[in-house]
């Protein structure tokens, strides 16, 4: 019996290790090849580089305009996420508490956006009418709008779990509507707001479609579009491509490690009964 359990243990651990390898290997290959010379990276293998070429990264940063695109991404993701936090803080609080006809409708109407596709052809027309094509303000507004639905859904679920008696007590104590939101509502919401901020920051950081449609000036490109463009130009220099990909993944990985709790908690909140 004990022998059988031991074999089972070894077997199941071998299986899970293989599974984990499938997920880590592709990234490891890219990382290793980022340090190789052009010739060596021409046949991608798991071999360690003959000579560690740290200058690849310098080349990539210079030629791929990585600094500029990094700060663009940071700007779009940061501003967009902050905007969403404020808009959803106010809207979510009202929509979750006040369930009379119109509010109910507005809630369902907005979360319909979780599923609906964005029509970029006509959105382009609206952007042109508003003079927002190829502007940083335009792209931030789009990001804010398209990420509202899922954020509202998560915040709504959270607010529904805060007892309404808290609000009643505040009102009896003479709280006004604005004070209720600012002094009672938002502080109670702060954990879910951190989640919303992190999730939206990453969603915007990772997006590629919107700049592809709405930003044609390379000076305004975020990292995703810059790396895509770099890939197109340097497709036969795999060491540089890998170095560029590595540098682009790095910020996201750092955020992931730092904000793991919020990310995993946030994605679960959407699905496992918010």
């Amino acid at each position: 019996m004990r022998a059988r359990k031991l074999t089972a243990g070894i077997l199941i651990n071998a299986v899970t290790c293989c599974v984990s390898l499938v997920f880590i290997l592709p990234l490891l290959v890219v990382l290793l090849n980022a340090f190789k010379s052009k010739a060596e990276s021409n046949t991608m293998t798991l071999k360690l580089p003959a000579e560690w070429m740290f200058e690849n990264f310098q080349t990539v940063v210079e030629r791929g305009k990585l600094f500029l695109s990094f700060f663009n991404s940071l700007f779009y993701a940061g501003t967009g996420a902050v905007l969403i936090v404020f808009l959803i803080g106010a809207a979510g609080f009202v929509l979750a508490r006040n369930r009379s006809g119109i509010h109910r409708f507005v809630y369902y109407f907005i979360i319909l956006g979780i599923a609906l596709p964005i029509n970029n052809v006509t959105l382009m027309k609206i952007m042109k009418l508003l003079g927002l094509v190829n502007t940083q303000a335009g792209i931030i507004l789009i990001y804010t709008a398209i990420n509202l639905p899922i954020s509202l859904f998560i915040v709504f679920g959270f607010i529904r779990n805060i007892p309404v008696e808290v609000d009643e007590a505040a009102i009896i104590d003479g709280c006004t509507a604005r004070q209720l939101l600012l002094k009672i509502g938002l502080p109670l919401l702060s954990p879910v707001m951190v989640t919303i901020f992190v999730l939206n920051f990453m969603a915007i950081w990772n997006d590629f479609t919107m700049p592809l449609y709405y930003l044609n000036n390379s000076g305004k490109w975020p990292m995703t579009l810059a790396v895509y463009n770099f890939f197109g130009i340097f497709e036969n220099q795999w060491n540089l491509v890998c170095a560029d990909i590595t540098l682009t993944i790095l910020p996201v990985l750092i955020i992931f490690v730092l904000a793991q709790k919020y990310i995993v908690g946030g994605v679960s909140a959407g699905a496992v009964k918010g």
């Binding site: 984990s20 990276s41 006040n98 609206i126």
Partner: protein, 294 residues
């Protein structure tokens, strides 16, 4: 019972900025898109004429490949939903099994692709799957399996499957994490009772774990469904719809029609998706919000 005057305590105007942004940048384009799908709107001429159902006839007449793009979208959506769900459940069960070591690290490793951009994942695999220089074929060769080496992304019979596999690689961690959270929520009493009744591992899985996970899995499946129908980034990065149009889906076709200046056709394709998802959403809302009674 309630002491509050709701409309005074929770004034509607708090919701208006969010609503306004959503309407202008999200909903209005969708509705406008349906209106323009009945026109000949393009980049060559300034005036826009009403042409009735011409664009729809063009799509569904079978003369062009558009039906194939729609079918590709459906196939991509259906297959990724299945692969992600099946592997997600298997990984979750493996990584909650008491004999498995280093569970947390392995969960994080499988979840990492989830936080990466679709585009980056696409580029990573485009490098690895390059038939000549890529890691994948080189690995097969060095393992003495060169017969298995393929043109993963440029063989039109294989490309869609490859894209589906890559998308599964990226998305399965999400499902796994959700299912793990679900498994942790199941009371151990059920398993103890089953143990006493002499149930095997498979019986416990089939009769306890899976039925209790059903709501959770249903929720994620809905999210995967709506993701699949709208897929763009990963396909654009991996194959750009090619080879030929073997991996063309609705949203890549919209982009290429848009770039060619055939705005009406782009908006018609997008509009079809919009209406289809709208209809689906009535079902989706019921799944996402099963207990909106209180």
């Amino acid at each position: 019972m309630c002491l509050l005057n709701f409309n005074k305590t929770y004034p509607t105007y708090y919701a208006i900025p969010a609503l306004l942004l959503f309407v202008i940048f999200f909903f209005l384009p969708g509705v406008l898109g349906i209106f323009y799908s009945f026109t000949d709107w393009n980049s060559l001429r300034a005036e826009v004429n009403f042409v009735g159902l011409k664009n729809y006839l063009k799509i569904f007449s079978g003369q062009y490949d558009f039906v194939k793009y729609i079918l590709n979208t459906v196939r991509f959506t259906g297959l990724t939903m299945i692969t992600k769900t099946v592997f997600g459940i298997i990984f979750a069960m493996l990584l909650t099994h008491k004999l498995v070591k280093f569970q947390n690290i392995q969960r994080m490793v499988i979840f990492i692709p989830q936080v990466m951009s679709f585009l980056i994942v696409g580029l990573v695999f485009k490098s690895l799957l390059n038939p000549v220089t890529g890691f994948f074929n080189n690995f097969l060769k060095s393992a003495g399996l060169s017969v298995l080496a393929r043109n993963w992304l440029s063989d039109s019979n294989l490309a869609l499957s490859t894209v589906i596999a890559v998308d599964t690689w990226k998305g399965v961690g999400y499902l796994m994490i959700i299912v793990i959270a679900g498994i942790h929520g199941i009371s151990s009493d059920y398993y103890e009772a089953a143990q006493i009744d002499g149930a095997s591992f498979l019986q416990k899985t089939w009769h306890i774990t899976l039925p209790l996970l059903k709501p959770v899995i249903l929720n994620v499946t809905v999210l995967n469904l709506t993701y699949g129908l709208r897929v763009f980034d990963i396909i654009y990065a991996l194959t750009n719809g090619g080879p030929g149009h073997a991996t063309e889906v609705i949203n890549t076709a919209v982009y290429s029609e848009f770039s060619k200046g055939n705005y009406a056709m782009g908006t018609t394709l997008s509009g079809i998706l919009f209406v289809f998802v709208m209809l689906l959403s009535f079902f989706i809302l019921r799944v996402l919000e099963p207990e909106e009674k209180s």
